[in-house]
């Protein structure tokens, strides 16, 4: 992965969108220094509250994980340990990071569970994960994320495995929590509807790179990059009788990316140059940034 550069402020929500395999999850895990086997960070920086996380040891990172940056994983059925009570799993971050014990800890867990709207938390925290529904488990995972009092929560497709009705509930819950606690949120998803509902800004990933990012309004109203345009074009519209647009071809394998712009083999507006040179970031007037030769001053006369 390369050219993944984004920033966000406290209380803000960034949407990270892209097809499966475009590098969204890897980006998230590299923020907190947990990479899959065989992957490593060879350059760049992750600056969080003024500190570069890529220069930190695993020991120091452990004190940041769960305490200052929390992650919500996508599968609620698999992300809780089946052998431990809800209490224990929610209590762990506060136990290890804030050294809470006894009554204070119980009180903390109870209020966390109440915050994610688990009914009768006093009673439910003695339960085990298998005694709860998927939606409830994902709310527990949310409570775990909040347990260490983080200033950034990374939610990696947190609603993909939930029923549609529960999805909406969960998103509302995350928004409410964000309003109450002021955490920054990185929302990884491939659902543009969720981005429109949840996010202040959005970054579109393709082939391990952010190809376009900017304020949600600007991106949705006037997408600059052909990939973003194609993504937005492939959202089904109510009442439309036209066949749904699908981007031709397959997303590239991150291990063997095409030369030049990674999107050029599938791009309807590809030029000769796109196959040779990698495009650089170009700032558009509305606050968005896109990585495309079409926007470069010396490019083809006009477009759009």
């Amino acid at each position: 992965m390369d050219g993944v550069s984004f920033s966000l402020n406290a209380g803000e929500t960034l949407g990270l969108v892209g097809e499966s395999g475009s590098g969204k999850t890897t980006t998230c895990l590299s923020i907190v220094g947990l990479l899959p086997r065989g992957a490593r960070i060879v350059g760049g920086s992750v600056v969080f509250e003024g500190e570069d996380l890529t220069r930190k040891s695993q020991r120091e990172l452990r004190r940041i994980r769960g305490r200052r940056i929390a992650v919500i994983l996508q599968d609620p059925m698999a992300s809780l340990n089946p052998l431990f009570t809800i209490f224990r799993q929610v209590a762990e971050p506060a136990f290890f990071h804030q050294q809470m014990r006894g009554k204070t800890l119980r009180q903390r867990v109870k209020s966390l569970l109440a915050a994610v709207r688990i009914p009768s938390p006093e009673w439910r925290m003695r339960d085990y994960p298998h005694q709860m529904s998927g939606g409830m488990r994902q709310r527990i995972v949310g409570a775990i994320a909040l347990a260490g009092g983080p200033s950034l929560v990374i939610a990696d497709e947190p609603t993909t495995n939930l029923d549609v009705t529960i999805q909406a509930q969960y998103l509302d819950l995350l928004k409410d929590i964000q309003r109450e606690t002021g955490v920054a949120l990185i929302f990884v998803t491939h659902n543009l509807g969720i981005v429109a509902k949840m996010c202040d800004r959005v970054a579109v990933m393709y082939g391990g790179t952010i190809v376009e990012q900017g304020p949600v309004r600007a991106i949705f109203d006037d997408p600059k990059h052909p990939y973003t345009q194609a993504l937005l074009g492939s959202i089904p519209k109510l009442g439309s009788r036209d066949p749904l647009y699908a981007i031709p071809g397959q997303p590239p394998n991150l291990a063997s990316l095409p030369t030049g712009c990674a999107f050029h083999p599938r791009c309807p507006q590809a030029m000769e140059r796109c196959a040779i040179d990698e495009p650089t970031n170009v700032h558009a007037g509305d606050g968005s940034v896109a990585r495309c030769w079409l926007l470069a001053p010396a490019a083809a006369p006009s477009h759009g």
């Binding site: 990172l61 452990r62 994980r65 769960g66 994983l73 340990n81 762990e92």
Partner: protein, 306 residues
Amino acid sequence: MTQFIVRRILYSIVTLFILSGTIFLVVRMTGDPVLLLAEAGASTEDLDRVRQQWGLDRSWPVQYLAFMENAVRGELGKSFNYRMPVSELYFERLPNSLILGLAATAISLLVGVPAGIVSAVKVNSWWDNAAKGIGLLGLSIPGFWLGLVLILVFSVWLRWLPTSGAGDWRHVVMPAVALGWYFAASMLRLTRSSMLEVLGSEYIKLAKLKGLPEVVVIGMHAFKNALIPVLTLAGVNMVVMINAAVIVEVIFAWPGIGRLLYEGIFQRDFPLVQGVVIMAGFMIVGINLVVDVVYALIDPRIRLTR
């Protein structure tokens, strides 16, 4: 829980019943014991007398009923060869077998489980390769060869340990190592694969993302989940090591049950073989029951209601 245990005991009785019938028949396929009991060259009349004396002239169903009648009363009959009650022989040997079996179980667990964990955590490292090597050696080196090498090194050359027999703790060391070695290797391999599976799970990823110390992630979150298959194997292995450590018991002249059974089979000592096998059946049933209860204590999803 109580209901579960009662039901399991009832099932166990059925199992033991089937086992008793099977061993009763199988042992009678080994040949006529009277030929070994009487002196060589005895006349047909003499053989008949001996047969009558031991009740072997009766039909099989009658013999089986007599065997069962005794067994229900807790008697296992009288050994042809030793001319002593089988239960006396058995309980005389049992403590020795328990000492050896438990020591070997302890060795297999203390070596196999930690090595399996390290090997899974540091997968494909130098550690893992070393553990895989030990695993391979453990499964391929026969216990009798290892036993002989141990005797050569520690008794003959170094003169640290006695070559054979039972006595104090020094007598136990070598037979326990020779016996536990193979089982340590199988423990290692099972622990490794079980841990690898758990370490790849989402809940372990989340545990790491919570910023928990590595000891907690591996030692509690992962290991507790990896424990169930390991526990099953440990239970089965223990029963095998207590009851069927024949080769090791022969090499180290260890007076255990395995050798008693072996001699019984060799001498066509029907009551002895039947008795020892039935007692082993009891032990398997008992240990499986304990393992099942421990399962339920570890895993809240398992409820003892079957």
